[in-house]
Point group: C2
Chain length 150, copies 2
């Protein structure tokens, strides 16, 4: 299939300099702060974004390596399909994170709850609209045994 | 910044043949069914995915047009930044949808609650893990006036 080209719209900065330093789950990085330097030409696209407490960052896992289709994660000893995981090593290494938007100054976004490596290229910002997610009900699939979904 | 190349891992099929036919909000397309034809070589990545009721589809808005950084949506008469919206016309036209996974047969996924145009190139599949989203609390930003977040 025809390949698709994207161009980063900004760069994500965080205290995590390596893959290993990136928290595996966002719940571990609740207080971790980062900044997003949006390219100045996209600044107008941020209008009214400060009214959201949480935003979705869509980004390129620039530190990703070759992917394996069935993987063992720290959650389980048995192998699971790559698409049941959030691992960075994927056919298209696109990452999604919900972060807390603290403030915006010009084209810089100050965020917390960040679980993204420093220097990660940003592809998109989307509003986190919880009602849209929540209406679907909830399931944790094979993670049910690990997390309680209360 | 350096451009990034992705290659579709499959194709999304739905009853929506045009941009206009695509429901604006997933809540309107609850019963709409679609299929995802994953390329056969990625089939092993689906192992255990059937244990999830909901999955996140990451896709390329192949019908997108030029973007405008401040836009009027049907929610409001005043203009808002593009990044506060889910519109398909974006610097990098990447779409995200949470859909209901009904079943999997070989490399075909049967889904419902789909709000995606027919023929859309699929970039990634991720598990929808509601506890990870929900821990962040909720806000609707400037949509608060339109939706009740109960």
């Amino acid at each position: 299939m025809k390949s698709i080209q994207y161009r980063p719209i900004g760069i994500i900065h965080s205290p995590f300099k390596t893959r290993e330093e990136v928290s595996v789950q966002p719940r571990l990085s609740r207080r971790v702060k980062g900044t997003i330097e949006l390219q100045p030409n996209y600044k107008d696209g941020l209008s009214y974004l400060q009214k959201f407490f949480h935003i979705i960052l869509v980004y390129h896992f620039h530190l990703s390596k070759d992917f394996i289709l069935t993987v063992k994660t720290f959650h389980s000893d048995s192998s699971h399909g790559l698409f049941t995981t959030r691992l960075p090593d994927r056919p298209n290494p696109i990452g999604l994170s919900v972060v807390h938007l603290e403030s915006i100054e010009k084209n810089t976004l100050y965020v917390s709850n960040i679980d993204i490596a420093d220097g990660t290229p940003l592809l998109d910002i989307k509003p986190f609209i919880s009602t849209l997610a929540r209406q679907y009900g909830t399931t944790l699939g094979w993670l049910t045994d690990i997390y309680s979904d209360k």
